[in-house]
Symmetry: C2
Subunit: 282 residues, 2 copies
């Protein structure tokens, strides 16, 4: 066969696979309906491993890795479809948020970051000794916010700011990029509420990857399958040793969109320690 | 249908899809043979987009994203299979490397990092002013190596060390983790040669993601499909503005293994500005 003939054959096979794919999605819809009624979870890793083992039993070794990747993908998109279906049937996404913009009476900053933060935000700022001190003020007074450097672009994320956000359930509400010593830095405001303001185009979140091979890749593919782009990704080994590694990612997405909600619902179900870290415009 | 009946149907569909998948891989093998003869490239993004557009034309909107993700995966694993096949037919991977271990006469370090580097390596070290100065010494004298802090785990990568590696074609040869002020730091040695030593279990590399939606996810899935784990990932916006973003990743892999070589071959072909940054044990 020459290349042209092979391609005609590939087209035929692709069309046959398409019909079977459609059939499988209708079956997935059935599964979603039953599970929504019984409250059963969509993602069952053990059952998936079982199916993979069964299906790969008689596959030729030279295409085994390819076939395994392929059926994992069928299962992934099947789950994606089921999460979307479930969201239209029930309202399982329980996330408290306020709508902005919000006026603040006070902004708190750690002393050493005051000059940089001033470049980004033109507010009066009260100096504190540490991010822990800022967290205390914010949690006790809903009318206050903190300001800090979240990230030096090209160098790394601020460990202490992220630790403070995570440990105290504090959310990023706005973000500005300033240039300091030739380094672009992301300066953010944060408070005790998740605030979604019209025009927000970034969603920051963290999760821990389940300890399975390829789980990060599968989570990032999942995000891509929603047609949502990543704008940042960082892997962070946890010093408290409760988790091994967590990931902080920034999405080019608005919380109010249906596809974003479906993605968040899937991430809440398929990652560990999932947490929203903020919504902002950048 | 109850869940049990649905699952019996799903099993049937999966088995039919499996037969078609096997058929498609045989066709992909044919494509690989023709392309190896003609030197044609395996990855043709425009042709793939064409096929996707054609196949999704008559698909129901509610499963369009799922189906698109699914056929992209078929193409991905088909390419993976073709790269592997091509590697067995020709030797397209032209990477110069030496085998270690190598004795060095001199080690150079920047003054401010000397104390930390001493915690990792027990060598005499000559202080230099900057990484550029170290690079000059290394490039002019193959018997020397540099030592520096590559990464503060949990905080970020060293921008200036990576810039030096990238700009001067310098490779990491060994790595040790030390604890400094409660922060775990990766201290590395580097030289002008890529040196592969028996027992190396880490491969560091960088690439630029093609500017297409989901391209990072697709690259990470590709890595996962080779059964190779990521140990680190960092996205770095480039200040020179030649690239938008590049990615630095560390793989749990040995350069000498066939599957690692096939992955590198695929990455060289499917990413931009691909570069190996080193092989070491960690």
């Amino acid at each position: 066969m020459d290349l042209k003939e092979v391609r005609v054959e590939i087209d035929k096979v692709d069309n046959e696979i398409k019909r079977l794919f459609e059939k499988r999605m209708i079956l997935a819809d059935n599964v979603a309906r039953v599970k929504a009624e019984t409250g059963d979870s969509i993602f069952k890793p053990e059952r998936e491993v079982e199916i993979i083992n069964k299906l790969t039993r008689d596959i030729e070794p030279q295409i085994e890795k390819e076939y395994t990747a392929f059926i994992k993908k069928i299962m992934e998109v099947s789950r994606k479809y089921q999460y979307g279906k479930t969201l239209t049937m029930t309202d399982p996404l329980k996330i408290d948020f306020k709508t902005g913009p919000v006026e603040r009476s006070e902004y708190h900053v750690i002393g050493e970051e005051k000059d940089i933060c001033r470049k980004a935000y033109d507010y009066e700022m009260i100096s504190e000794e540490s991010f822990d001190d800022i967290a205390k003020v914010i949690l006790n007074n809903p009318n206050t916010a903190g300001i800090g450097v979240m990230e030096d672009l090209g160098i790394g994320v601020s460990d202490r700011l992220h630790t403070m956000l995570i440990n105290n359930d504090i959310y990023i509400n706005s973000c500005k990029i300033v240039v300091d010593n030739n380094v672009r830095k992301k300066v953010v405001t944060f408070s005790k509420d998740l605030i979604v303001t019209e025009g927000d185009n970034r969603l920051k979140l963290m999760f821990v990857c389940p300890n399975r091979s390829g789980s990060l890749a599968s989570i990032l593919s999942m995000i891509a399958d929603y047609d949502i782009n990543l704008t940042e990704i960082h892997s962070v080994p946890d010093r408290s040793e409760i988790w091994n590694y967590f990931f902080m990612i920034e999405l080019d997405a608005a919380f109010t969109e249906e596809s974003t909600k479906a993605l968040i619902y899937q991430l809440m179900n398929e990652t560990e320690a999932f947490r929203l870290l903020g919504s902002y415009k950048c």
